[in-house]
């Protein structure tokens, strides 16, 4: 549990990328670091975290002045109405009706934790003004105070779950990789100013931060060796929004890797024990049955508790099994198409050349996409399984999420948040220039890929300001510019956006894999010649 002695890490740090910026200031590495520079002194340090958190809040709240999805667009409105409607139906109907009630009007299609969260928000909101959530009559309700209330629920959820999680995660991740306190503050500021989540949650209107917060807290617990708490939280994350499944294979591989050890490297698979040996699968296999069982029990019982109310209060005309079946059916709508709108993934991008939906039937497509997805997530998961190091966890999660986003079935453009947030998490482990420019670029491209959606909702101003600030503060070096693209051909432009972003996302997937392999020590053999030189040169450049 205790953090490993810093001395050994310093030795390792010099061998790899230079991860700290604190030594170089004030020679202006990038604007955000310079901005936080005054907070480095001991007298000002206690201000650092409050300053970052309040500033993050100001930007977040400023975005809420913009329109939400589906504002003033009857008859169906948008995601905002969906969330409001869930609050309405959960507070008025018995639990047995939740997944069945009027499915045509934004029927509940998220896992149970979202339903409970909606119930809570709805109850509180009804105290303020019952007409916001009255059954049936409140459909499509829009008023100034109601909007403020809904925005406030996002902000409160965010500040109760996501933001503490990020703070804790940066603490543990930087402890695991031995970065200093000042770099930790910079990393925190970078994580909190990542524009994608802000604009989707506070602009478009969703509660992604709750799911992401639970997942990130789970990762933090994994890094702190509290595996059971971690798996409990991760399952809660999945129970809030099924999108968390993008991370699940990586998490599973990591946990499985911790429970299984191979002969040769002994019991020291945790931490940074691997001395760069080659992978030896032929050796003796040891399985830590106790941990494995406990993990299994935790996961199953957490799921059980979350869905239990639906099984217990199944209502007079349905059985418990029917209730659970309906929940699964609602949460995983396999009947939908290959993708929605124009998503920057493999399917949408290559659709220009090969019209999948015309040539292949939906079941075939499902199989092909399943196969490709597994192929894509296999490398990061395998690496995590074989080398379950703490430093690798965020990388593996990011790689896995990219794999899902690029190849899986029925992806929404907002899903890019998952790989993007996971990829941004790695900054907590150290701030080398290579990493910063990739992370900066990833956020830029991800925002850009959501531009058609945001533009349609009237969030152009918020998009411009947030992305501009992000570019200025973090992605200053390395990002390339899309300024030249003209908006004359709307559809071509949107498809072009998708193709371009797909290319960029593909690059990111590969880069994540590369960095992962590097961190895992797989490239050490190759880097003796050319790589070593490269490293030294980078060191020189930085110093």
């Amino acid at each position: 549990m205790a953090p490993p002695p810093p001395a050994s890490h310093k030795a390792r740090k010099r061998k790899r990328h230079v991860r700290s910026y604190s030594m170089q200031l004030p020679s202006k590495p990038f604007p955000l670091a310079s901005l936080l520079h005054p907070l480095r002194t001991s007298s000002m340090r206690r201000l650092a975290i409050p300053t970052v958190l309040i500033t993050a809040f100001i930007f977040r709240w400023a975005v809420t002045y913009g329109p939400h999805s589906g504002e003033n667009t009857p008859p169906m409105y948008g995601d905002f109405e969906a969330q409001r409607h869930w609050m309405e139906l959960t507070i008025h109907l018995p639990i047995s009706e939740w997944y069945w009630y009027d499915l045509q009007w934004w029927g509940l299609d998220y896992p149970p934790l979202t339903a409970y969260h909606s119930w809570l928000c709805g109850k509180i909101g009804s105290l303020v003004n019952p007409s916001w959530f009255s059954l049936l009559t409140s459909r499509g309700h829009e008023s100034y105070n109601h909007k403020v209330f809904m925005r406030a629920t996002v902000a409160v959820s965010d500040y109760l779950i996501y933001i503490p999680s990020v703070v804790i995660f940066t603490k543990w991740h930087s402890r695991a990789s031995g970065t200093d306190k000042y770099d930790r503050i910079i990393a925190l500021a970078i994580l909190l100013s990542s524009p994608g989540l802000i604009i989707i949650d506070y602009g478009h209107f969703q509660y992604n931060s709750v799911m992401l917060g639970l997942c990130i807290l789970a990762f933090a617990n994994f890094l702190a060796d509290r595996l059971l708490w971690g798996s409990l939280l991760f399952v809660m994350g999945l129970g809030f929004k099924q999108m968390g499944l993008y991370y699940a294979p990586a998490v599973f591989a990591y946990l499985a890797g911790l429970c299984v050890s191979f002969g040769g490297s002994g019991s020291n698979t945790r931490g940074d024990g691997g001395n760069g040996n080659g992978i030896d699968i032929g050796g003796l296999l040891k399985v830590d049955i106790q941990t494995l069982t406990l993990l299994g029990i935790t996961v199953i019982s957490t799921f059980g508790i979350m869905v239990a109310p639906f099984a217990i209060f199944h209502g007079p005309d349905k059985t418990a099994l029917e209730q659970l079946g309906q929940m699964v059916h609602r949460v995983f709508p396999f009947a939908r198409g290959l993708w929605e709108d124009k998503v920057a993934n493999f399917w949408c991008a290559t659709n220009i050349v090969f019209k999948y939906r015309e040539r292949l039937s939906t079941p075939t497509l499902q199989k092909v996409s399943l196969f490709l997805t597994i192929l894509a997530i296999l490398p990061p998961c395998l690496l995590l399984f074989l080398r379950p190091k703490k430093r690798l966890l965020p990388w593996g999660v990011a790689g896995c999420a990219w794999g899902f986003f690029l190849f899986s079935f029925q992806v929404h453009e907002k899903s890019v948040l998952l790989p993007m947030v996971a990829m941004t998490l790695v900054v907590a482990g150290g701030l080398d220039r290579d990493l910063l420019s990739w992370v900066g670029w990833a956020n830029n491209v991800a925002m850009f890929s959501m531009w058609p959606l945001l533009k349609r909702e009237g969030l152009g101003l918020q998009y411009t300001v947030l992305t501009g600030l992000w570019r200025y503060r973090v992605a200053y070096c390395g990002a390339y510019d899309y300024g030249g693209i003209v908006e004359r051909f709307p559809d071509i432009w949107v498809v072009g956006n998708a193709v371009l972003c797909f290319g960029a996302f593909g690059c990111m997937y590969i880069w994540v894999l590369y960095r992962m392999a590097e961190e895992a020590g797989l490239l050490d053999e190759y880097s003796v010649g050319g790589g070593g030189e490269d490293e030294k040169e980078r060191l020189k450049k930085v110093e």
């Binding site: 005054p38 007298s43 000002m44 201000l47 409050p50 300053t51 309040i54 500033t55 809040f57 100001i58 709240w61 400023a62 809420t64 002045y65 100034y144 105070n145 909007k147 403020v148 925005r151 406030a152 902000a155 101003l461």
Partner: protein
């Protein structure tokens, strides 16, 4: 968009355009602060000036008044700071000209004109002793000011609309207090009156029942008091001028640039504290020049802090919508936190003993502030709904008035003894 009859017209484009115009014109403030920093020669004061400049530029006051409420104070105070910086570097003619231009933008700056008059007269128009009149300087200054005013008002003189113009600029028909009492001496007076209404029957005082609802009525109009005597405009004038006269005599006798800025601050203070129908936005008038002096030494900072807190909180009722509460409070708290700590690290120790017990006062004052804001912005609504709407406003204004009064007295003493 610009058709005169199109009142209350607000398309998204118009809002963007007008907001953008505020942001662009605020560049004047940025430039003026840059110049203010650049003219400092001593490295220590330069560091302080840098921090002051940042604190002014990022001030919640400008965010609330200019960017949310909508005005162009950023630009105006930019011009004022240009002018004050010129005074600091003894560029007196330009300073006077800039101030004259500023007056043509907004006549509220007439309140601080006496300080300019006294300083320019003593420093620019008169020589070492009082009888030595520098005629050429007088002519230069006079001609430039007259020509500025004639450019601004000439056309209206030509078409004979000056009476109408003056009646628009100086509306004396309004009451002593603005609907929301600006936090000055009269707010405390009105607050005392409101309390006396409930106490009066026990003390056998007469209550003027006609005016019971007057001060809290919520419309711009005449204010009359129920128990305490009414205040005629004359009284406010006499009080304002009396305070101003004291500091003018001082600046006339010791015409140094720092003292001049102090005099400007005090003129602003006096008119804010005792003026007729003062608006809460006028708190910028003492706040901005005082900021420039705040880092002189610890005593000044001690007097400045209550003003900085109260001045910003007193602006809260200006933006009253539910969605604006999180921004204004978060931003103000952040500003106070960051800058107060930064001020503390750079301010030099005082050369002489401090006279006031302002630090204790200040700590108590700040502690009271937090629950007060929570009450006025959140709990009041939860407890009373939309009834008794004036109550939180009254508390805010009395609370802020107390802070500004303390700050005013502290600075007045420092100015007279320093």
């Amino acid at each position: 968009m610009l058709q005169v009859k199109n009142l209350n017209y607000a398309s998204v484009e118009t809002v963007y355009f007008q907001r953008l115009s505020v942001i662009v014109t605020e560049l004047v403030l940025v430039l003026s602060l840059r110049r203010f920093v650049n003219v400092q020669t001593n490295p220590q004061t330069k560091k302080g000036a840098n921090i002051i400049a940042l604190s002014l530029l990022l001030s919640p006051a400008f965010l609330i008044i200019d960017h949310i409420h909508f005005q162009y104070n950023g630009m105006m105070f930019g011009i004022l700071i240009f002018s004050l910086t010129d005074a600091l570097t003894d560029n007196l003619l330009r300073s006077g000209i800039l101030f004259a231009i500023l007056l043509c933008f907004k006549h509220i700056y007439l309140y601080i004109a006496p300080a300019y008059f006294a300083y320019l007269l003593r420093r620019y128009c008169l020589g070492k002793n009082l009888l030595d009149v520098r005629l050429f300087n007088c002519i230069k200054l006079g001609v430039s000011i007259v020509s500025i005013f004639s450019v601004a008002f000439g056309y209206f003189v030509a078409i004979g609309q000056i009476p109408q113009l003056l009646s628009r600029l100086f509306p004396f028909s309004r009451g002593l207090c603005h609907a929301y009492w600006a936090p000055n001496a009269w707010a405390l007076y009105a607050f005392a009156d409101r309390i006396l209404i409930h106490v009066a029957p026990r003390l056998n005082l007469n209550i003027d029942s006609a005016s019971l609802g007057s001060a809290t009525r919520g419309l711009v109009g005449d204010t009359s008091f129920a128990v305490l005597p009414n205040i005629p405009p004359r009284v406010t004038f006499v009080l304002t001028l009396a305070v101003q006269l004291v500091c003018l005599v001082k600046v006339f006798l010791q015409p140094t640039p720092t003292r001049f800025i102090g005099a400007v601050t005090l003129c602003g203070f006096a008119s804010f504290m005792f003026g007729w129908h003062v608006h809460e936005k006028a708190v910028l008038l003492p706040l901005v020049p005082f900021s420039l002096l705040a880092l002189q030494d610890r005593r000044y900072l001690g007097a400045f802090r209550p003003l900085a807190i109260a001045g910003h909180i007193s602006l809260f009722p200006l933006v009253f919508k539910a969605a604006e509460f999180p921004i204004k409070s978060a931003y103000t708290i952040l500003w106070i936190m960051v800058f107060f700590m930064t001020f503390d690290t750079v301010v030099p120790v005082a050369k002489s003993q401090r006279i006031f017990l302002l630090d204790r006062f200040e700590i108590v004052y700040m502690t009271v502030g937090v629950p007060l804001i929570l009450y006025t912005e959140l709990f009041h609504f939860a407890i009373f709904g939309s009834r008794l709407e004036f109550l939180p406003l009254m508390f805010t204004s009395a609370y802020c008035a107390l802070g500004i009064l303390g700050s005013f007295l502290g600075f007045f003493v420092l100015y007279l003894t320093g």
